[in-house]
Symmetry: C2
Subunit: 299 residues, 2 copies
DNA sequence: TGAATAGTGTCTATAAGACAATATCGT
DNA sequence: ACGATATTGTCTTATAGACACTATTCA
């Protein structure tokens, strides 16, 4: 119950109506923005320009403006500022949902800060620009922060990452600050408890595309079944059987609907032109696309 | 990113280190405590003793103590205070998880209050006692606040509610304030946005027992398959096929494990003594117990 | 004895996954 | 022609749900 101490004792009465009599708690929003770049799952990070954790990478976010915006509005505002989507109505195509709140009293060394985390799925966006007071912004492969990192794709999983030289490709972060340390090295733990928040966001994302059509939020308006499969493979970190996936997607009512068109050009390595689809009107997938079990899955 | 404006301009610097320079936001926790009483799903409500919404029913909760407790600790503390479980380690058997945060600037008329909602599953508890400053506390059937109210059980759904006279039984709330209006009448909308929070909690509960063994949290240490089925029927608001349910539960690895014993006395209306089980060690159900689809389900 | 419940067996429809086959397109 | 991908077909196995049947216990 909110403000429940009102009117009980004099002190509580005052407290309820003059919250400054309490030690204050600050409220921020932090956003786990996920996107796909070259078939690899990336998260948007910013480099802190001030103390604490100066110079470290962190999730984008900021204070909620008291009395002026809801939590979702604050998250959308911060997201627009950090992704440079403020201009076009580009945010329409971004999925944004609340992830959870983090409020350990010591998570920020300065004071008690409660952070309401949001999770966003975005289509491939332009390079990040350091918005506001950040010293840099970058799309970083989540693998570097993921304890459940994608192991090498079980099979047929090569050749999808674009070909540079030969070994495993580790795309460098695109950052507006050329001197930024690449996140993901030894000394690059995320600021605050953002590693926990990111891990929770990844868990949520992996679960959510099982029973919702939100994987389509990573793609453009029109897409092929193969591209959609690429989303699942990148988010789950495993390769999927092309034939079974194809039939499964088309069999779930409302998941995708045909546009009638076909891709202008086939895949980079040949093959027929794939048919194009757009997201359907389903909000839930029935039946769901269950993740293939991992050997060491929780029972 | 928390406290991100630190060091950018003088004003922002000060703001980050002296948050009282900002308009403050208060942080509370509110808890949706669900339990089963006589096979009916109930939620714990308290009657507000002060303004605003004085006299209305609300979810139990209260302010987070800045710098002294985490969100989960605050929720556990409030839960103990309101359920009278503070004494025994009785909270051990209660499942408590974060539900979500609610922060519309106008949700509390006095100031901007962000509420972090928690969801609790409790076994049958003693009657509620008005803790702290509440004017009353009561276990109330959720049906009265549930837009997706359980329709009459599809079949075989009678006779389970205990028999008073004949018609549909509407148990009165057990409250320490005998003059309290029974919640659920016309003029009994919950305070604040608590109707929304309760609805979200019910949605979460209904989904969660599908893929986790948390339905066992509504029961005692040992229980029969029939009692477990009663939990599902009460939470989902539909009756389930006894035979199929029985086989299904026993076939999911780690859901329940046999104690070897049998119930001391059979069901109220005859039948053999059922075998007893306790919760297994699974954290997720594989495969899940899917809800029977409703005719008007979202596609 | 009759009613109600516990527990098991059987059968059918659906879905998941393995594998195969064919068609199409770039190089 | 070759290699890769798109799409469809087939077969096997697992699962959900409907229904039936036996055993047990209270009234």
């Amino acid at each position: 119950m909110d403000g429940r101490h009102a009117g009980h004792t004099e002190a509580e009465f005052l407290a309820a109506y003059d919250p400054r009599a309490f030690d204050p708690i600050a409220v921020t929003v932090d956003i786990v923005v996920l996107t796909l770049r070259q078939e690899v799952l990336h998260v948007l990070l910013v480099r802190r320009g001030g103390q604490p954790f100066e110079g470290r990478w962190a999730l984008p976010g900021g204070f909620v403006q008291a009395g002026r915006e809801s939590l979702a509005e604050a998250a959308a505002r911060e997201l627009a500022e950090e992704t440079g989507l403020r201009d076009a109505g580009g945010l329409d195509r971004v999925h944004l949902e609340q992830l959870g709140s983090y409020g350990h009293p010591d998570r920020d060394p300065r004071m008690h800060v409660v952070s309401v985390a949001y999770l966003a799925f975005a289509p491939d966006l332009p390079d990040a620009t350091a918005g506001g007071d950040a010293a840099g912004a970058a799309w970083v492969p989540v693998e570097r922060f993921d304890p459940d990192a994608a192991r090498p794709r079980p099979h047929a999983g090569d050749g999808r990452n674009g070909a540079h030289g030969g070994g495993p490709v580790r795309p460098s972060p695109v950052t507006t600050d050329p001197d930024a340390n690449a996140p993901g090295s030894e000394d690059d733990a995320l600021a605050f408890d953002h590693a926990t928040i990111l891990a929770d966001g990844l868990d949520r994302a992996r679960a959510k595309i099982e029973y919702t059509p939100l994987a389509t939020a990573f793609l453009g308006e029109e897409f092929t079944v193969g591209q959609l499969r690429g989303v699942y493979e990148a988010v789950w970190g495993r390769s999927l059987h092309a034939g079974n996936f194809h039939r499964k997607v088309l069999s779930v009512p409302g998941f995708v609907e045909s546009t009638g068109g076909t891709a202008s050009r086939p895949g980079a390595r040949g093959g027929p032109r794939a048919r194009l689809y757009r997201a359907g009107d389903a909000r839930l997938l029935h039946p769901a696309l269950l993740r293939p079990e991992r050997e060491d899955d929780v029972r």
